[in-house]
Point group: C2
Chain length 397, copies 2
Amino acid sequence: MNVTFSERMSTLKPSVIREILKHSSDPNVISFSAGNPAPEAFPAKEIAVLCAQILLEEPIAALQYSLTEGYTPLRDHLRDYMKSRHEIGRDFDELIITSGAQQVIDLATKILCNEGDVVLCEAPSFIGSLNTFRSYHVRLHGIPMYSDGMDLNALEKALKTEPNIKFIYTIPNFQNPSGITMSYHKRKQLYALAKQYQKIILEDNPYGDLRVSGDPIPAIKSMDEDGLVIYAGTFSKVISPGLRVGYTVAPKELIQKMVVGKQCSDVHTNVLAQMICSQFMTHYDYDEHLLRMKEIYTRKSSLMLREIDKHLSPLGITHEPVQGGLFVWCTLPDTIPMPEFCARAVEEKVCVVPGNAFLTDESAPCQSFRMNFSTPSDQQIIDGVALLGKVAKQFLA
Amino acid sequence: MNVTFSERMSTLKPSVIREILKHSSDPNVISFSAGNPAPEAFPAKEIAVLCAQILLEEPIAALQYSLTEGYTPLRDHLRDYMKSRHEIGRDFDELIITSGAQQVIDLATKILCNEGDVVLCEAPSFIGSLNTFRSYHVRLHGIPMYSDGMDLNALEKALKTEPNIKFIYTIPNFQNPSGITMSYHKRKQLYALAKQYQKIILEDNPYGDLRVSGDPIPAIKSMDEDGLVIYAGTFSKVISPGLRVGYTVAPKELIQKMVVGKQCSDVHTNVLAQMICSQFMTHYDYDEHLLRMKEIYTRKSSLMLREIDKHLSPLGITHEPVQGGLFVWCTLPDTIPMPEFCARAVEEKVCVVPGNAFLTDESAPCQSFRMNFSTPSDQQIIDGVALLGKVAKQFLA
């Protein structure tokens, strides 16, 4: 039969990155296009030990239906941890567990946005979130980025002129795709603007623990005296993405509605995975683990930046500073057309992600591309960046 | 700040059952209100063995990001199994893994329904699905039930008169809450009507493997020569609900759009859980396991029906026949007001679910209530039904 899809979904396509990742399954291709955490960083042995213990001691709790809000010991521990470590969470807030941070984005949009409402987001921004917003037929208004975060003049102009803005979406630490970290000063200003215009901030912080240089900057949520911020966190980058365990801290009123939404989406998050995260945080030295993660990411990012300096910088290819996360955002000189560069790179068996994939308007001109340093091996980083240099040279010749 | 929720979510309340379940946490309360599978049916030891093996042999596959469509070996095995065992799946169909069958309901609604569109559903029906439909601002049109399934005259009238019907939702086997099984004849007629009016059928079959009496009836999906049926299945009732692994078989065009939707919801389903289900199906005798499940459910349902015959039937309380599933749907005589009966039962520390919770219009008059036999112990079944008889007698005195 002839199926008519809903308006919200009819024009939504699979993520461009997914299409590019199909090339990556070829073992001869060097992929800088993924966003996977480094597999050597997974605490696989510890997870195996915890899993065995949980299924021996509490099999019914792990396998039976559970609360939509999440596994209580994990919620309790995480609430304390986020408060004591990051000053996140006040008396008016609550914390629930979600199926990855992606579900926080999904639920926040579902409970707040009517079709046609506006979400302000960084431009570029995370394609997964942009697609979630689009899947509710929300209109996206992109705010250009400087190297210290959003252009706040453009933000204020949007706040003044756009009707029906429901929230401001930001990834303040090591943003995907740009790698940009919002300065402390800008975080305070952004919060003040949100307060002035009475808009919610959706603060997405998947990479916060993966800082490789510089000092940590307080989360916007830590400034939230007025109950304006929905904070999205995840274990995907620090324990394992396959487990699909994320969390959100937000004012209770919002959390209650998100719980109703989550009941309708997946009832609750996989319990065994929640128990693994809970026990991993409490049975092992979590700080030590995070330190080990940082070492891995520091080494890999340094290596990629060194190779970029060697092969790409001399050709006029610039990049944003990298303080952490998984990505380097490179920009080609005007003499090299970005789409053709990325296409030629694929022919040379190196995949990067064309930057326009991360724009609110994918057809807008863009000279940037995203490179990932966490998934490829050291040798792949060395070979792949050299190949990109070779490709760039062909355009300059 | 003063939050305004989206129209779709602003009136949606947490499930009534959740509120009732709060009473159930009192260990002195006998709960017939849950929908949990029998904990003694979980293959906990086998899952522990598989889990250890997976995390030893394939830790990276289990812990890394994975495909939105699901773990390939599980998809492949399940596709063959559903085809050979249930004649489900044709060349134009595809199978993907979801985070429980609830996510199939969610994605189907998201891709097919605009706000204000109509979904036809059985009345009563599963509250979790009704709330998902409501969460997309869909209008529900309930079709009354006979003991052999939907009133097809009422269905055809609705098909003729309702504008913008997007699909017909049915649970043909041991329906939640009514326990009713749709006859083979009605399944064929329902399919013919869907074909005539070119409407999609969303066939939800969480309990199909839990038949305790009578012969299996082919799924509506097995008749689907025209690509009209979205089939929702789950491991929640046969392996474990805590793992949150479901699946759907539907025409490829629909599946592709559901995959885009799933990317926006939770990226993919927990991989370890998918690997456990995959290996459980292939490394153990799955038929033998299903047989063991049936024995447990046959014993528990027989016990509850025996006690109902002893304590409730003499008082004029009737019930639908039980061929499987988890529930008995009881109806009070007109002389006993249902809401007061359920409230008095709670005072006597027995919880059942008021039947109106499952109606499209929860304020409509209803004399029925739902009882679950899978979660309580044998002794609780014996004591609880006797207590319900005592409560009913008080109204008749």
